[in-house]
């Protein structure tokens, strides 16, 4: 069953379109990758799906959550959806956590808000979630501040926070870009495990084709605010229909070749 559907989504700033006519849908257990270079409108699309566009930007089109159009819904209605039906994990886990609040309380926040749990119940659930995202010594870790734990651990906390209220859609906005490669692999494995377990639909946003290809089943390619490509991952990778899709696949293949052990290490500077 479709949980989140958007069609004709257009985002404008002072009449200037930043995202044009984007449409896709997400049902339970879907894994959709949204790929594109920086500035292509990926993150704006994600924010629009939560009704959190920066001031001055306007969205038009349709955003259906459980069949109801939320595009022009007042903030009061959006708040009931955010965190409970649709959640998001951001790129930089250090800035996405309040520096002065113990991480356990940050995970507990949405639980108290949406499920009406009291402080101690919410904290117990926060500890459970720390365990589920494989954080070491959860009972102790929930009392730590964000700067006292590692980047990978912070992203695990952010994942726990996003999934705590059992949303049905998880938007992951470049969740591994700020992490180093080994940690990145661990977080991707965890993400894979969690979405299998919870059945949450995933919208994975990234500029990194190999990362997306490893996790997603469907692929959307965005450029200059438009969707230029969409379909099952294998189809898009084997038979890209747009020029940009072909460039993307070719450059990803080149980077992979350069990164292969034994080959001359490339400059890696040329993205496309």
């Amino acid at each position: 069953m479709t949980v989140l559907e958007t069609s004709g989504l257009t985002i404008t700033l002072d009449g200037e379109p930043l995202v044009r006519d984007v449409g896709f849908e997400l049902a339970a257990r879907d894994r959709v990758g949204l790929i594109g270079e920086s500035g292509s409108g990926k993150s704006l699309t994600a924010l629009a799906l939560l009704g959190l566009l920066p001031a001055g930007m306007r969205a038009s089109g349709r955003i259906l959550i459980d069949g109801r159009d939320y595009l022009d819904a007042p903030d009061r209605q959006w708040r009931r959806v955010r965190g409970r039906t649709v959640s998001i994990v951001f790129q930089e886990p250090l800035t996405a956590l309040d520096p002065l609040m113990p991480v356990g309380r940050q995970i507990a926040g949405p639980l108290r808000l949406h499920h009406g749990l009291n402080r101690s119940d919410a904290e117990r659930r926060a500890i459970e979630w720390c365990d589920r995202v494989h954080l070491p010594d959860p009972a102790r870790l929930v009392r730590a501040l964000p700067h006292e734990i590692s980047g990978g651990q912070r992203q695990r906390v952010a994942l726990a926070m996003a999934l705590a209220c059992r949303p049905r859609v998880l938007i992951a906005d470049e969740p591994t870009t700020a992490l180093d490669v080994t940690v990145q692999a661990q977080i991707l494995t965890l993400l894979d495990e969690l979405i299998e377990e919870t059945g949450v639909a995933l919208l994975f946003i990234s500029h990194d084709l190999p990362v997306v290809a490893g996790l997603a089943r469907q692929l959307l390619v965005m450029r200059d605010g438009r969707l230029v490509e969409s379909g099952p991952v294998d189809d898009v990778l084997r038979r890209p229909r747009s020029d940009y899709g072909r460039q993307l696949v070719a450059s990803a293949a080149r980077v992979t070749r350069l990164a292969r052990p034994g080959s001359v290490s490339g400059t890696g500077g040329e993205d496309r």
Partner: protein, 299 residues
């Protein structure tokens, strides 16, 4: 809203104590500032139960006497004990300082937070009001109020409080706006948190330290404003003692009894310098921004 901060420091102690610089609590400005301020507070507190002489107890034989065993700070032109007046003046200064800072924060903080949290229209309106109040000198405002309502402690507190509240509102607005642009506020919104809850859970704990430093500076401003008003005869009306009025009464006899001018002046200086040093020390310890920066460079 002290809970998260207390918990925070506990957690820091428990987990990262070895790496955290603790020298902040031993900074010279914090120690010197605290000592100076404690002297003033001690004078004010002791004056509640004991003073060397009564306020109106004059010794006509010892007019304008210099400091001695009987009169530690000498006497004024009526032969009244100056140390008694200094102690009672400290009480007035602390009382007016604390009350007007309280008034300033009660007015300024909610206004600043409102401006930061609300939309552009409200923000612009509040910013305009703040600018107007800042542009209007506090002393002038006080004179205006005194002309209308007559000189009294309440009028002095209101005038100083309103004058200082504009600075508080400006700082609260700027600090809160900065917090509102942080990712963790966006993250809180994506979890469905409403703006009032974000203000209480995320914004206040993150600007609390900055406001505390501002409170110490505001206290210094208030002490000077009170002394100035009293000097001009617009502050606390007699017979309540005030450092400002001591200065004013002593100025005609400055050639004969210079200590009568020096000592109240010194008292004002000690209170203001003390509270400013304390504020500097607190800023070093407490500012989450400084802490973050230290952390970033420490890695």
């Amino acid at each position: 809203m002290t809970t998260p901060l207390i918990e925070a420091s506990e957690t820091v102690d428990a987990i990262a104590a070895p790496t955290r610089p603790r020298r902040g609590w031993r900074s010279p400005s914090l120690i010197v500032g605290s000592v100076l301020l404690l002297v003033v507070l001690a004078l004010a507190l002791v004056s509640l139960v004991w003073t060397p002489y009564g306020l109106d107890q004059a010794d006509p034989a010892a007019r304008l006497a210099g400091p001695s065993a009987q009169h530690w700070a000498g006497t004024d032109r009526l032969g009244r004990d100056q140390f008694t007046q200094l102690m009672l003046g400290a009480r007035t200064a602390v009382w007016i300082g604390v009350s007007s800072v309280a008034v300033a924060f009660a007015l300024g903080t909610p206004l600043g937070l409102l401006a930061a949290a609300a939309g552009r229209l409200v923000d612009d309106a509040v910013a305009g009001v703040i600018d107007i109040v800042i542009a209007f000198p506090t002393l002038l405002l006080a004179m205006l109020l005194v002309t209308v309502y007559g000189a009294s402690t309440t009028v002095a507190i209101s005038a100083i409080g309103i004058g200082v509240s504009a600075e508080v509102a400006r700082l609260a607005r700027i600090s809160a706006s900065r917090v509102f642009t942080q990712d963790y506020v966006l993250a809180a919104r994506t979890c469905g948190t409403s703006t009032p809850v974000i203000l209480i859970r995320h914004v206040l704990p993150n600007i609390w330290h900055t406001l505390l430093v501002q409170a110490t500076l505001a206290f210094g401003v208030a002490v000077i404003a009170e002394a100035s008003l009293s000097y001009l005869g617009l502050g606390t009306p007699p017979p309540a003692p005030s450092w400002g009025r001591m200065l004013q009464e002593a100025q005609s006899t400055v050639g004969v009894a210079p200590w009568n001018v020096l000592l109240p002046g010194l008292a004002v200086a000690v209170a203001v310098v003390g509270v400013n040093l304390l504020g500097d020390g607190l800023r070093e310890i407490g500012d989450p921004q400084l802490r973050t920066r230290r952390r970033a460079t420490g890695r």
